[in-house]
């Protein structure tokens, strides 16, 4: 029963993740760009953030910089994107992301499994699919 913030600009994907999260018994918030995400995050202090990278205006990486995970140690951040380069992975890890997942590899069910795993663990885990 956690509060999950879904940051995703693509409407279909936003819908899918919302359904998955809600079906799993959690509450969800949504944002479609970095600015909205910052507002939601600071206002509601979610337990977990699902973060897309490619967004208009303020993108995922900029959000993470401004958000400053150091200030929110209890919040897990899962980067959920279709961009996939080792450089990006490294950069986002440095910025405090707990997981880096490639969207196209997971069904909603599998995603929820990973989210539950992240919520339950305290140290960051590497995906072991």
């Amino acid at each position: 029963m956690a509060l999950i913030l879904i940051v995703e600009d693509h409407p279909s994907l936003q819908k899918i993740y919302s359904i998955a999260v809600t079906e799993a018994g959690h509450t969800c918030l949504t944002a479609k760009d970095g600015t909205e995400a910052l507002r939601q995050a600071t206002e509601h202090n979610p337990d977990l953030i699902l973060l897309d990278l490619l967004m208009p205006d303020v993108n995922g990486m900029e959000f993470l910089r401004k958000y400053d995970t150091a200030k929110h140690p209890a919040t897990k951040v899962i980067v959920l994107t279709n961009m996939d380069t080792p450089i990006l992975r490294q950069q986002l890890s440095d910025l405090g992301a707990d997981l880096y997942l490639v969207k196209s590899e997971y069904t909603p069910k599998e995603l929820m499994g990973l989210i539950d795993g992240a919520l339950q663990s305290t140290p960051p885990a590497t995906p072991d699919n």
Binding site: S12, L54, T85, S104, P108
Partner: protein, 598 residues
């Protein structure tokens, strides 16, 4: 033929042709000049000698006539014939003594009666001898002769008999015989000045059969006088032509030594004698041969010089061309960073311009290539998004989110899901290839249990196998098989090989995946029971877009990128991939990976 070789040939031709032409012309004109000079010289000499010999003959003839048609001798002889007086005899004797002493050439003077008996002579032993058998006797009774009767005297020299009838009141009353030496003739003939080391004058008289009998010593046969003759049949003998009365210029004669000579022939007019003034061709041609040798050396030097110059000149052109083609080849094999060095500050020449243009083009290509890669990367990522959404929606439906599904609904939705997964796989392949080709793949290597990974993949693909009643068997050791690999990339590799094996094998076939840990490498094999690959097709197998026909399916499946990607990814891991196959005998793909680093 290479450009350098062509340039050398042209250059040589350019240099050699005029050199040879000029040299040849020089040679020919020198040759012509030499010969003409020699012939002129000989001709002059011949004229002089002819004149002098004729003078000698004329002198003899004139003098003889003075005696035979004079006053004193005929009168005295006629008187003696009638009287046989001792006074007449004494007068005859003193007359001939006077004749002899006046002319140093006269060795002896004799007077014969008409029967041939010597009446009086400056040689006392001759008096009373019968000379009627002498060769000149018959002729001497009727006419003067100064050139036909020659003999070699006791000293080995040539003498002439000047003979003729002594006429008194138009009747012969006796014969005079003068034995004259021919030393003046010999001295004319043996004067070799102006005739070099091999030239000479041959003096001969015509024999009854047309042959030429020498009347004077030859330069290289001093005993030739009256001893040596040249046969009439020797047409190219100058002396034969001379005694034949010809005034000729012979450029290709052969002398008595069988040596080639040039010769001028002259008759001695009023006689049946002739002279040939000659000189050996070899002597004339010697300077010419020297010139020829010098010219040959010159041509050789020119040749060598020409080759080196041509080589140098050719290099000026071919060096930049080669540099350019090396750079171009690098670019053609994918290294777009190659540039051509523009050479010593010489930007304004043709190659500077070419190099500059080439470099600009290469930079442009590099930029385009980067743009292409960026484009592929960006669009591939973007292509994933709608496919991800479809995956999500179908997945929700399949998990019963909307409502439990009927079997038919499930079937159709599952099929749609599978197709979408295929699309995602394809995008992933394109992405990986684009990254690999632009060297952007950095493997996220970690110690992985390959055995476990294989298990996972096989389980994933087993539903597909079951559809065609195919079996996948795994051969593995008991424990884990470790290797340092990028899990996701290796997953793509194994997935590709196993799904290919399933696709290209008939129904009920068995596919075997085996893994073993060797001493220095890990061996992974995927064997199928498909229809095998021909020897000739093996090279093409790992190339981009290469697809072999598959009799198992009606439609062409696969993008032709799978094996290409497999090869790239395995090689990025410092591994190798090989295929063993024969038509009808199935195929085995063998991947060798380095052992885990300790």
């Amino acid at each position: 033929m290479s450009i350098v070789q062509k340039i050398i040939l042209w250059f040589l031709g350019l240099i050699l042709v005029p050199t040879l032409l000029v040299g040849g012309m020089l040679f020919l004109s020198f040759n012509h000049y030499m010969i003409n000079e020699a012939l002129n010289n000989l001709s002059h000499q011949a004229d002089v000698k002819q004149q002098r010999i004729e003078d000698v003959v004329t002198q003899n003839t004139t003098q003889l006539a003075a005696f035979t048609n004079g006053v004193l001798l005929p009168t005295t002889l006629d008187s003696y014939n009638h009287t046989h007086s001792t006074e007449d005899l004494a007068l005859l004797g003193s007359t001939i003594d006077a004749v002899k002493s006046k002319t140093p050439e006269y060795q002896n003077v004799s007077i014969l009666n008409l029967d041939g008996k010597v009446i009086v002579s400056t040689q006392p032993s001759a008096v009373g001898q019968d000379y009627s058998a002498k060769d000149y006797f018959a002729r001497a009774k009727v006419r003067n002769d100064t050139t036909d009767y020659l003999f070699v005297n006791g000293k080995g020299e040539l003498d002439i008999n000047l003979v003729g009838p002594i006429m008194y009141q138009n009747n012969p009353v006796g014969i005079i015989v003068i034995d004259a030496s021919t030393s003046d003739l010999a001295s004319i003939v043996t004067d070799y000045s102006g005739l070099g080391d091999t030239g000479e004058t041959e003096l001969a008289k015509r024999g009854s059969d047309g042959n030429a009998l020498y009347l004077a010593p030859l330069r290289f046969d001093t005993a030739a006088t009256l001893q040596r003759s040249v046969g009439y049949s020797k047409a190219n003998s100058p002396v034969v032509r001379a005694v034949d009365g010809q005034t000729a210029t012979l450029q290709h004669a052969v002398n008595y030594q069988d040596k080639p000579v040039i010769a001028i022939t002259r008759p001695i007019r009023g006689t049946n004698w002739g002279i040939a003034v000659e000189i050996e061709r070899a002597e004339i041609y010697q300077p010419l041969y020297n010139l020829r040798d010098t010219l040959v050396l010159l041509v050789f030097v020119v040749l060598v010089f020409g080759v080196f110059t041509a080589l140098f000149a050719a290099r000026l052109i071919t060096d930049p061309i080669i540099a350019l083609s090396i750079a171009a080849r690098s670019i053609s094999t994918g290294d777009l960073s190659q540039r051509v060095h523009q050479g010593r500050a010489d930007d304004n020449n043709e190659f500077g311009l070419l190099a500059h243009t080439f470099n600009t083009m290469a930079s442009h290509l590099e930029k385009l290539d980067k743009m292409k890669t960026e484009f592929i990367l960006l669009t591939s990522h973007q292509l994933r998004t709608p496919a991800t959404a479809v995956k999500g929606f179908l997945s929700l439906l399949l998990e019963g989110y909307a409502k439990p599904l009927t079997a038919k609904q499930r079937e159709l939705l599952q099929a749609a899901y599978e197709e979408n997964e295929q699309q995602l796989r394809l995008v992933n392949q394109i992405l990986s290839i684009a990254q690999a080709e632009s060297d952007q793949i950095i493997l996220a290597k970690a110690d992985t249990d390959l055995s476990g990974l294989i298990q996972e993949i096989v389980e994933q693909l087993r539903p597909i196998a079951i559809e065609h009643r195919q079996i996948i068997t795994i051969h593995k050791p008991k424990g884990p098989v470790w290797a340092t690999i990028d899990r996701e990339k290796m997953r793509m590799v194994i997935e590709n090989l196993v799904s290919n094996a399933l696709k290209y094998s008939p129904d009920k076939a068995e596919i075997t995946v085996s893994i073993e840990q060797g001493s220095d490498s890990v061996l992974l094999k995927v064997r199928d029971q498909g229809f095998g690959i021909a020897e000739g097709d093996k090279d093409q197998l790992f190339k981009k877009f290469s697809r072999l026909p598959n009799p198992n399916s009606v439609t062409a499946q696969g993008s032709g990128l799978g094996l290409y990607l497999v090869k790239i990814l395995v090689e990025l891991h410092a591994g190798t991939v090989d295929v063993e196959s024969a038509p009808g005998k199935g195929t085995t793909f063998i991947i060798k990976l380095p052992n885990r680093q300790e």
